[in-house]
């Protein structure tokens, strides 16, 4: 008995172990050799620890940023970063175990729905599923759920999203790709539908509709060629300007005698380092689990429709990606200044989301409303993806998150569903 109690109390409560065991299960179900199971399990364990290390780096940098921002502008400045939210939920809040099990649960619910319903979508973007598991766990935790109910509800809600989001996007995806073979598996779909709706309202129709692909764009966005460089290009000025407003007294907190501007510069770099490490951890973490489970999913649902990550649409409309990125960024900048007027937090534009979600939204806007639809829709999309994290801030700061909010719109919608619908119901009964 003592041994079992020791295992349950000390080993299975460790998220790193749980997620490694999930990987082991997937590999064993695939009848992999003993060596492959062992190496895959340890790689997953390692990935989790690398992710945690990245998260600590990000949190340290964001804590500094939060301080100088509140002293510099007397407002709460929030950096939207789903990676930071995931890291903090796993480490600071100790929700890693629940997130890992919900991640597995979402996969299972997805397979069940695809197997027995007419919606054959299998969500293949592992990273996005991890973010969804994170946000349903946070939402459930905020609503007061723990243990099995928390994991089960998160799995069902996440599993429904994993099928519903590709299904909702599919009519427009068909229009973009010209076939029905591939679906889009990216949890920013609510945002894409907002852009599509705006593009339909304000865009061009019929013969007046001109595609962005007929326009020649200048080549001037070279910094976008490198993901981390593009984050740095934004974070460095952001930290420097904020530190300048905060002044040397607050800007040098923790600097240990270093010049405060230099310290702010290095903290901005630290943020990028944190994202780099964290994403490397995510790759290691999911590198074994995702192939194992999608192999299982494909065998159980052979006629499935794979829902792939957003770059699947880029080739069909490369100009729209660039215009989507630019217009979404304009929208997020307007939102940054505009939302505090209504008492909401200042949400700083996140370049990675603006590029991938904004770019994909641009493709939707162009497909529905042509040039004008993509441009107006893009700005509205930018406003929308600034509003959602701002609405979420209340839920998150209440739980002890440091100066961060989530990014991917569907995951935020799932979390807000908990806060606005499920939590009141649970309190009423």
């Amino acid at each position: 008995m003592a041994v079992i109690k020791f295992i349950i109390d000390n080993i299975l409560t460790q998220a790193a172990i749980t997620i490694a065991l999930i990987a082991a299960l997937g590999l064993i179900l695939q009848r992999k050799s003993f060596g492959s199971v062992l190496s895959g399990t340890f790689k997953t364990l390692l990935g989790f620890e690398v992710l945690s290390a990245g998260s600590s780096i990000i949190v340290a940098s964001l804590t500094y940023f939060g301080k100088i921002f509140s002293h510099g502008f007397h407002l709460t400045g929030i950096v939207p970063s789903i990676e930071a939210i995931n890291g903090q939920a796993m480490n600071q809040l100790g929700l890693g175990n629940e997130i890992a099990l919900t991640f597995l649960g979402i996969f299972i619910v997805n397979i069940i729905i695809a197997r027995f319903s007419p919606w054959k979508y299998i969500f293949l973007t592992g990273q996005a599923l991890l973010w969804m598991a994170t946000m349903t766990t946070i939402g459930g935790h905020a609503a007061g759920l723990t243990g099995f109910p928390l994991i089960a509800l998160g799995s069902v809600i996440g599993g429904i999203f994993a099928v519903a989001m590709p299904a909702i996007a599919q009519p427009i995806v068909r229009k973009i790709t010209g076939n029905d073979a591939i679906a889009l598996g990216h949890f920013c779909t609510v945002g894409y539908m907002v852009e599509s709706g705006a593009a339909w309202l304000f865009g061009e129709r019929g013969e007046k509709k001109h595609s962005l692909e007929d326009v020649k764009l200048p080549k001037s966005l070279e910094f976008m060629q490198d993901t981390y460089l593009s984050v740095m290009v934004v974070m460095v000025p952001l930290y420097l300007i904020t530190a300048a407003f905060a002044g040397p007294k607050y800007g040098s907190i923790g600097a240990g005698g270093m010049n405060y501007m230099m310290f702010a510069f290095l903290q901005a770099i630290q943020f990028v380092v944190g994202v780099y490490v964290l994403l490397a951890g995510v790759r290691l973490l999911l590198g074994e689990i995702v192939p194992a489970f999608r192999g299982i999913a494909m065998k159980l649902v052979p006629n499935s429709k794979p829902a792939l990550d957003c770059p699947v649409l880029f080739p069909y409309s490369p100009n729209s990606v660039i215009i989507g990125f630019i217009t979404t960024t304009i929208g997020t900048v307007i939102g940054m200044f505009f939302l505090p007027v209504f008492g909401l937090a200042v949400i700083l534009p996140g370049m990675l989301t603006n590029f991938f979600a904004g770019g994909t939204a641009g493709i939707f806007g162009n497909a529905v409303g042509g040039r004008r639809g993509a441009i107006i829709g893009g700005v509205i999309h930018g406003l929308f993806i600034t509003l959602l994290p701002a609405l979420l801030v209340g839920v998150l700061t209440h739980m002890g998150f440091t100066n961060a909010s989530a990014t991917d719109s569907d995951t935020i919608v799932a979390c807000l569903m908990y806060a606005w619908i499920i939590s009141p119901i649970l309190k009423a009964v």
Partner: protein, 131 residues
């Protein structure tokens, strides 16, 4: 919505439009392949890519997916770009993935899903290198 009431008339999957080829047509296509292959020798740059794509599409007409994939992949290896080869590969990988899934062939499922992942990476690279 949700694919239930979708407009199916203009978006038939590829295989449904495929017609049985007569022997004569097959012969013609095989002759075309021969002449394309001989043209390929000594070609380079854009000409080579055009020929490789033609080989890919001719094999696709013959329903020889493996050879079609081979030539399209060669085309993409010459130059990573959006276009016929990229789109055809995405389609062909998915068809092969589906075949493997029905046969419950795990290695092939992983192979073609992995290849689709590679296409996603190419997509990101091509887009970024354009700007």
């Amino acid at each position: 919505m949700f694919g239930l009431f979708k407009n199916k008339k203009d978006k038939k999957p590829v295989e449904e439009t495929k017609v049985q080829l007569t022997d004569e047509e097959k012969n013609n296509l095989n002759n075309e392949i021969k002449s394309l292959k001989s043209a390929l020798k000594g070609q380079s740059g854009n000409d080579k890519i055009v020929t490789l794509n033609s080989l890919g599409s001719t094999y696709e007409k013959l329903d020889d997916k493996d050879n079609a994939i081979k030539y399209y992949e060669d085309s993409l290896a010459e130059k990573e770009q959006f276009g016929d080869a990229y789109n055809a590969l995405l389609r062909l990988y998915e068809e092969k993935r589906k075949e493997a899934a029905y046969k419950k062939d795990d290695d092939d499922i992983q192979k073609y899903v992995g290849k689709m992942d590679d296409l996603m990476s190419i997509s990101k690279r091509v887009l970024k290198s354009n700007y």
